[in-house]
């Protein structure tokens, strides 16, 4: 059994910790976003939805709580999509030749980078949840300590699979790109549709047909489903939509994310096997 991917992981985490500005920015940015956007939209949506009739027996949750799950998902998406950029820098100005000319199997590079990206997302998500609770996000309503721990585990499971899938995608793109600008362009192109055709910030029920279908194939939607299920519950009402998650829905979302991550791994593996860096 070879453990070289641990080395790749170790080195990437070492850089993450050493690159102080990036570290701090990656933690402050989602918090700021939630504080400003959340506060602004929350008061607007509260006013708009206050006239709507709440269905019998449903628990109404605040918009801030609703979007808290979305912020977790979006932050994970952004971080993971850019997570492969270190490979691009390695390729152009760093260690890539050393890694590719070593006897280490190349999929260890992908796995190592994937796991370190996942760890970074975990750290971010924990910080966002902590900050969210502090500014009034009502996660884990009435949960016992054990239930809360279970819910956090569930959230991290979803976040982990989602992030590693996008890190694989990002790694594959990075290895085929010549410049960081190219990666940036592709990532931006991917981010916006994923972002808007998802349920991260608003319900998808009112989407026009094609967009709704798109959103069903959007990994981001499945991540948000999972996070909301664990953080808020399986039955709640927010900004004019009634959310009911069955266990099957959640298992389906988990499977969708797993399938996505597996496909992305194969894509990245193929790119790495064929990669030539001289």
């Amino acid at each position: 059994m070879a453990f070289e991917f641990v080395t790749i992981y170790w080195r990437d985490m070492l850089r993450f910790v050493r690159f102080k500005i990036a570290l701090v920015a990656s933690l402050v940015q989602p918090a700021l976003w939630m504080a400003l956007y959340g506060a602004a939209m929350s008061s607007n949506f509260s006013r708009l939805s206050s006239v709507m009739a709440v269905p019998e027996g449903a628990t109404t949750i605040s918009y801030l709580t609703f979007m808290g799950a979305g912020v977790i998902a979006l932050t994970t998406l952004f971080t993971s999509l850019f997570g492969g950029i270190s490979l691009l820098f390695d390729k152009n100005w760093g260690l890539m030749r050393e890694l590719l000319a070593s006897p280490m199997p190349r999929n260890h590079i992908i796995i190592g980078i994937g796991l370190s990206g996942m760890t970074k997302s975990f750290i971010q998500v924990m910080v966002i949840m902590g900050f969210g609770l502090f500014i009034g996000v009502r996660f884990f309503p009435g949960y016992t300590t054990i239930q809360t721990a279970g819910a956090i585990f569930g959230i991290l499971l979803f976040v982990g699979i989602f992030s590693i899938g996008f890190i694989f995608l990002s790694s594959a793109i990075s290895m085929t790109m010549e410049t960081p600008e190219g990666l940036q362009a592709v990532v931006t192109l991917l981010t916006l549709p994923l972002f808007f055709a998802s349920n991260a910030l608003y319900p998808i029920d009112a989407f026009p047909g094609p967009v709704r279908v798109m959103s069903q194939f959007n990994p981001l939607t499945h991540l948000v489903n999972g996070v909301r299920y664990f953080a808020i519950g399986d039955d709640f009402y927010a900004i004019g939509a009634h959310y009911v998650y069955t266990t099957n829905d959640i298992i389906l979302s988990l499977l969708a994310l797993t399938a996505f991550a597996s496909i992305m791994f194969l894509v990245a593996w193929r790119v790495f096997k064929k990669a030539v860096v001289t």
Partner: protein, 369 residues
């Protein structure tokens, strides 16, 4: 202290090379052919064997049927102008490019079918800096040891040895971004040696470094070679190749166009010049013209310029004896041998230094980005 010992070794080797070079000339051996029996050899084992290697980028054939071998324990120089196919060959040998056609055996392993074993048998110092600037010296070596799956105890021991060897003890926990160019290069060489490779590939190891740093680097490289590691070298500095190489292959247009030890290559040009000041230049001229080794005699500023077609080192005493026997007094004598630069220009029609400048400019913007 140790280093001084090694300065002596190549000097001895060079004398031997001269002798062999002279011998080869006397036998009138075609300079483009290998006569393995005369190679300055340390062992008879071939550590690298390349046969009929070809590589194309699309329609462009960068390597056009190259065959050569490297003896175990020698310093082998692979020289050529830019675009000659040199880098492609090195990238194939270091497993960064696939073998398209032909065969390569390194340390007994077939490159096409056993790339992992080849990778475990070689160390590489890449032409461009290949360091993580955020890792320390120790971590850089640690990472290398780990991805080559060295066991922890051995890894730790080797890290200490290597850091000592390349004299970076007080930089152990300094990030590589804060090292000087020479230190970085030493670290990269040390890293290449971590796993005790059979062959160390050095691609332009001294490019962009000042003279003093270059000299120190060569001391390390000779030290490494003397402990048994075969060195595969490319360089743009002909004087360096001349001083350290046991054998040189010159490649151009995807083919090997000349090979030999440095002395042989230089002698093969047959352009040794002897400048003589004598008591009677005219009589000397007539006397010299009768000699077989003398190609041409001209009157120069203060005497005679004699072009000879054999190794001047051995020819000069003979000429002087002949003149003395003819009653001529020799006032002064000077021997100018062709440099490896002359050899390079002769075979490639290009000057490696001019070709090199272009390359230097190309890689420099890299660091500033």
């Amino acid at each position: 202290m140790v280093i001084n010992l090694f300065v002596m070794k190549p000097a001895l080797g060079r004398d031997l090379s001269h002798a062999i070079g002279c011998l080869r000339l006397k036998l009138d051996i075609d300079s483009q052919q290998y006569k393995t029996g005369l190679r300055t050899i340390k062992t008879m084992e071939n550590i690298i064997e390349v046969n009929g290697l070809e590589y194309s980028y699309g329609n462009f054939k960068a390597v056009d049927g190259i065959s050569f071998f490297v003896r175990e324990g020698e310093i082998f120089s692979f020289l050529g102008p830019n675009g000659a196919g040199k880098s492609t060959v090195i990238n194939i040998l270091t497993t960064l490019l696939p073998v398209q056609k032909g065969s390569v055996i390194i340390a007994g392993y077939d490159l096409a079918t056993q790339p992992e074993q080849v990778r475990r048998s070689i160390g590489i110092v890449f032409q461009d800096e290949t360091l993580d600037r955020d890792l320390t010296v120790k971590e850089t070596l640690e990472l290398h040891g780990r991805i080559y799956s060295m066991q922890r105890d051995e890894r730790r021991r080797r890290i200490d040895e290597i850091i000592k060897l390349v004299e970076l003890e007080d930089k152990r926990d300094v990030r590589t971004r804060n090292l000087s160019g020479g230190m970085k290069r030493r670290l990269e060489i040390g890293r290449g040696l971590m796993t005790r490779p059979k062959v160390l590939f050095l691609d332009e190891p001294t490019i962009g470094l000042d003279t003093q740093t270059r000299r120190r680097l060569w001391d390390y490289i000779k030290l490494v070679n003397d402990s048994g590691t075969t060195i595969f070298l490319t360089t743009h500095y002909m004087d360096e190749a001349d001083q350290v190489s046991d054998w040189i292959d010159i490649v151009d247009h995807g083919k090997i166009i000349a090979s030999g030890n440095p002395a042989k290559l230089k002698n093969a040009l047959g352009r040794d010049m002897i400048y003589l000041e004598t008591s009677d230049d005219e009589a000397s001229m007539n006397m010299l013209k009768g000699l077989k080794a003398v190609m041409d005699v001209k009157v120069a500023a203060h005497g005679l310029a004699v072009t000879i077609n054999t190794d001047g080192t051995h020819c000069l005493p003979l000429i002087m004896n002949r003149l003395r026997d003819g009653g001529i007094r020799i006032i002064g004598a000077n021997l100018k041998k062709p440099t490896l630069d002359d050899v390079f220009v002769h075979y490639t029609g290009r000057d490696i230094r001019n070709a090199g400048v272009e390359k230097l400019h190309r890689i420099q913007p890299r660091r500033s980005r």
